[in-house]
């Protein structure tokens, strides 16, 4: 394999990882602060993608669509938190799983109702539509690079938010000691709504950005959601650093595995068999990585305060 | 002097900066009641957790019945014959008192992987379980779910479970907490006789009971044993008086 192709695939892996990070960050924050497992996080991703595609189609502007995706996902997150999620904080995980599973059904069908079953398509903005030359030859789409940069910016922003701001201090207090937060005179309901809406907005942002790479369709969120679970299991629930590291591991391992394993098995078994076996193993690779991590660190690489 | 059944040597356990167990060495001899006393937060329950295998020590060793059990987990130690109760009652709340004890009987028989025969009509479980309940005075309450028992009754049930396990040594963590004076007295008499079956390591705040029962007392302060001795020795010990007994009303 040429080094240019390898660089390209590593960048693809990073881009995938960054997108997973946007999903996992919200999930892990919500779990860390509120102790809630939210299956409907994938629906917020889908809402972001649909909002972006619809607004971009109506106005012709990707950027307006992006703003709309953040607003729509945050609004949906706020609404759901106030109406449903708030009642689930004290409940056991089974109730949380069930209620948020119900939310997936509701969101998916409602979206299908509004937009129909035909996928929407979203174009990357013209300014980001070209490719740039990679060192060592080869071209790489600017849009994918932009996603990586946005991901890095969000990771930095989250780090600043949590370590340097008042809101961040409250979030950390909430992770460490739920009772203390009441004692500090913080309006806990408001804090929880803000954290949930923040996570929702990040998921919506991820959905909007990915919408320009894939088709925008109902059900797009759940495969990503499950990968985000793998990410936070690897990283350690409740840890933002863990989510970042886990997301990059999963993104890069999955992407490279799909390219390299068929070739590797091909060298031993011949190209046809190699593609078959390699493809099947590659599809399972990240779960094997997860199992290995769990075998040595049952609570993930970065054991969070939760 | 009889060879100790249980020996704790140089046991250490820290939680962050807090040294909950600081180089503790004590032992339990056949036929004795050895009481562990000390102010709240002295590390008594931590020590109990270390001995029963609920917590892992940072250093030190535990010998039981001539065997080093430091590396054995809690179920393994229970199977070897360490029967413990918990400071805060730890029962299967939906099960009746009887079924809680039957669980211990089946565990003792090593038969938890039998899949067919119903337990409800199994005399080999019910009879020993009823016997243990009767001995702790809970015979009439056998069918009551553990969650509905009074606080004191739950303590009795914990002891019944330890009895049904056929423990070679008992580790009792504040068995009298929450009991009325009448029940405490009954339990004191009961423990007094129990020592002939197996020795008892007893954490207890009720000093009347401790002084009445204990063959030896160890005083734990800030994770360290500051004195071990007979009741008289402990009463006279100046360190103990200043560190602990002097604070008592």
């Amino acid at each position: 394999m040429s080094s240019a192709l390898l660089v390209e695939q590593i960048l693809n892996g990073l881009q995938f990882g960054v997108m997973l990070f946007l999903m996992a960050a919200g999930l892990t924050l919500v779990f860390g602060v509120m102790g809630l497992i939210n299956l409907a996080h994938g629906s917020l991703y889908m809402i972001g993608a649909f909002a972006c595609a619809a607004v971009a189609a109506a106005t012709g502007s990707f950027w307006l669509g992006l703003v709309a995706s953040l607003a729509a996902a945050a609004a949906a997150g706020t609404l759901v938190e106030v109406l449903v999620i708030r009642r689930l904080y004290g409940r056991d995980h089974l109730d949380q799983v069930l209620a948020t599973f119900a939310l997936i059904l509701i969101f998916s069908e409602a979206t299908r109702w509004l937009f129909g079953s035909v996928p929407l398509y979203l174009n990357a903005p013209p300014i980001l539509s070209g490719s740039i030359a990679l060192p060592g030859g080869g071209q790489y789409p600017v849009y994918r690079l932009a996603i990586i940069l946005v991901g890095i910016a969000v990771a930095l922003g989250l780090w600043l938010l949590i370590s340097k701001t008042r809101l961040g201090m409250r979030i950390r207090a909430g992770e460490n000691d739920r009772e203390m937060i009441g004692a500090l005179g913080i309006d806990i309901n408001r804090l929880y709504t803000i954290v949930f809406a923040l996570g929702a907005a990040l998921a919506g942002l991820a959905g909007a950005m990915i919408g320009a790479l894939q088709s925008v369709r109902v059900g797009m969120g759940e495969p990503v959601l499950i990968l985000a679970f793998v990410v936070i299991v690897i990283g350690g629930i409740g840890s933002i650093e863990g989510a970042l590291v886990g997301a990059l591991i999963v993104g890069v391992v999955d992407t490279l595995g799909r390219i390299l394993l068929p070739q590797l098995f091909g060298a031993v078994l011949g190209p046809a068999q190699g593609a078959l076996v390699g493809g099947a193993v590659a599809a399972m690779l990240i779960y094997v990585v997860m199992a290995l991590v769990l075998a040595f660190k049952p609570r993930g690489l970065f054991t969070g305060s939760a | 002097m009889a060879e100790p059944l249980l020996q704790i040597r140089n046991l250490k356990k820290s939680f962050g900066a807090l040294r909950a167990t600081n180089d503790v060495s004590i032992d339990l001899r056949p036929g004795e009641v050895h009481a562990l006393i000390g102010p709240n937060g002295a590390g008594k329950s931590t020590l109990m957790h270390l001995i029963s295998g609920f917590l892992k020590p940072d250093a030190g060793e535990i010998l039981f019945d001539g065997q080093d059990i430091t590396g054995i987990d809690m179920p393994g130690r229970a199977r070897l014959g360490l029967g413990r109760t918990f400071q805060i009652s730890s029962l299967a709340p939906d099960f009746s008192a009887l079924r809680n004890v039957m669980l211990a009987v089946q565990a003792r028989q090593g038969s938890s992987f039998r899949f067919i025969r119903p337990v409800r009509s199994d005399p080999s479980l019910i009879e020993p379980a009823m016997a243990a309940l009767e001995r702790t005075g809970l015979g009439a309450r056998a069918q009551i779910p553990a969650a509905e028992l009074s606080h004191g009754e739950r303590r009795q049930l914990e002891i019944a479970i330890a009895l049904a396990l056929g423990a070679k040594a008992f580790l009792f963590d504040e068995p009298m907490a929450g009991m009325g004076p009448e029940s405490s007295k009954t339990l004191t008499t009961f423990l007094d006789r129990l020592r002939r079956e197996a020795p008892v390591l007893l954490i207890e705040h009720d000093m009347d009971a401790v002084f009445a029962l204990a063959d030896r007392i160890s005083v734990l302060v800030y994770g360290s044993v500051i004195a071990t001795g007979t009741v008289e020795e402990i009463r006279r010990n100046a360190d103990v008086r200043s560190a602990y007994l002097g604070d008592m009303p």
């Binding site: 449903v84 009642r87 590659a282 599809a283 | 987990d73 992987f113």
Partner: protein, 326 residues
């Protein structure tokens, strides 16, 4: 007779009467609906062992359901073509005999559950939920990426497998076979729950420290329960493939795992007939709401949300009151 026993009897008889009513009305489609209730009820009964008795919130039982389905599908395909399943290192020939397929389905589901359980049961709570979900997704992607048995498109069974003395192609006969398997599954559930093993498993759910303190390792008990639970769900998977004469990765999907949990909760978690009641209600809603609107899952979601937030205890809990323990 306790109220729960009465309710269970009524449910069992009602379920048995459904296909005969359909037969009398000459509505064969309704017979298959009843069979669907029975098979989904059996799948959820398997999950109920882990979830209801053991408190293990497995979000990955679709993996075992699907594995069972593929066993039936693969066997049927090979048997139909008179090819061995594989020829090296030894020849394993296929059969279209249902009892052999059932045993194979249970065995393979158990075999898949063993490593999944061994890894995921090292954790608990929300980790366990996510990890079982992830491993089921792994099996799902494997089925999609392995083209030999249809990959993403799934695998059709040309004919139902055989049970000597019965015409399995006949809807009513097939219903009765499935019904008998459901009753056998419920009997197995009851026996297990009332056994020493069941006692230990329930104790692991109620208070694992208590179980450990009497000398039983909760992990081993849970692992055994997880494997047995998977086997029962795998058996149901084989019947489900026979019912639809089709098996596809959708049987392995996260959505299926979610539905299995929904069946248990709708009916009543930990109750003997909870999963059956849940499956009856679910298939009924699917049929009635599905006939009214294409968007029936929206209303299913709303109903489910209502049940979780306001009506805990499920259908059996609603009709028969709180469970009795002893």
């Amino acid at each position: 007779m306790s109220r729960e026993l009465l309710l269970n009897t009524v449910l069992a008889l009602l379920l048995l009467a459904l296909p005969f009513g359909a037969f009398a009305l000459d509505e064969p489609f309704y017979i298959d609906l009843a069979t669907r209730m029975v098979v989904l009820g059996l799948a959820a009964t398997g999950l109920n062992l882990a979830l209801g008795v053991g408190g293990l919130v497995s979000f990955g039982h679709a993996a075992f359901f699907g594995v069972g389905g593929y066993v039936a599908g693969v066997m049927a395909t090979h048997a139909f073509n008179a090819e061995p399943i594989f020829a090296a290192p030894f020849t394993l020939s296929a059969t279209d005999l249902m009892p052999v397929i059932w045993i194979a389905a249970m065995g393979l589901a158990a075999l898949v559950a063993l490593p999944i359980g061994a890894i995921s049961l090292r954790t608990s709570g929300v980790y366990f939920i996510m990890i079982t979900l992830a491993f089921a997704q792994m099996v799902y992607y494997f089925a999609i990426s392995w083209p030999a048995y249809g990959g993403e498109d799934g695998l059709a069974l040309s004919v139902r497998n055989a049970l000597p003395g019965f015409d399995t192609a006949d809807s009513l006969t097939f219903f009765l076979i499935c019904y008998a398997m459901l009753m056998a599954g419920l009997a197995a559930f009851t026996i297990l729950r009332n056994s020493r093993f069941g006692t230990a498993l329930e104790a692991a759910r109620q208070n694992e420290i208590r179980l450990a303190a009497v000398g039983v390792a909760p992990f081993r008990v849970r692992r055994a329960a997880f494997v047995l639970s998977a086997a029962l769900t795998g058996l149901a998977g084989a019947l489900y493939a026979e019912l639809n004469k089709f098996v596809s990765p959708s049987m392995l999907s996260w959505h299926m795992s979610g539905i299995l949990i929904v069946l248990v909760i709708l009916g009543g978690v930990g109750r003997l007939f909870g999963p059956v009641a849940g499956a009856m209600l679910y298939v009924f809603l699917e049929f009635v709401l599905g006939g009214l609107t294409e968007r029936w899952q929206l209303f299913l979601g709303l109903i489910l949300l209502g049940v979780v937030l306001f009506a805990r205890g499920g259908l059996v809990g609603l009709l028969a009151g709180k469970p009795r323990h002893g």
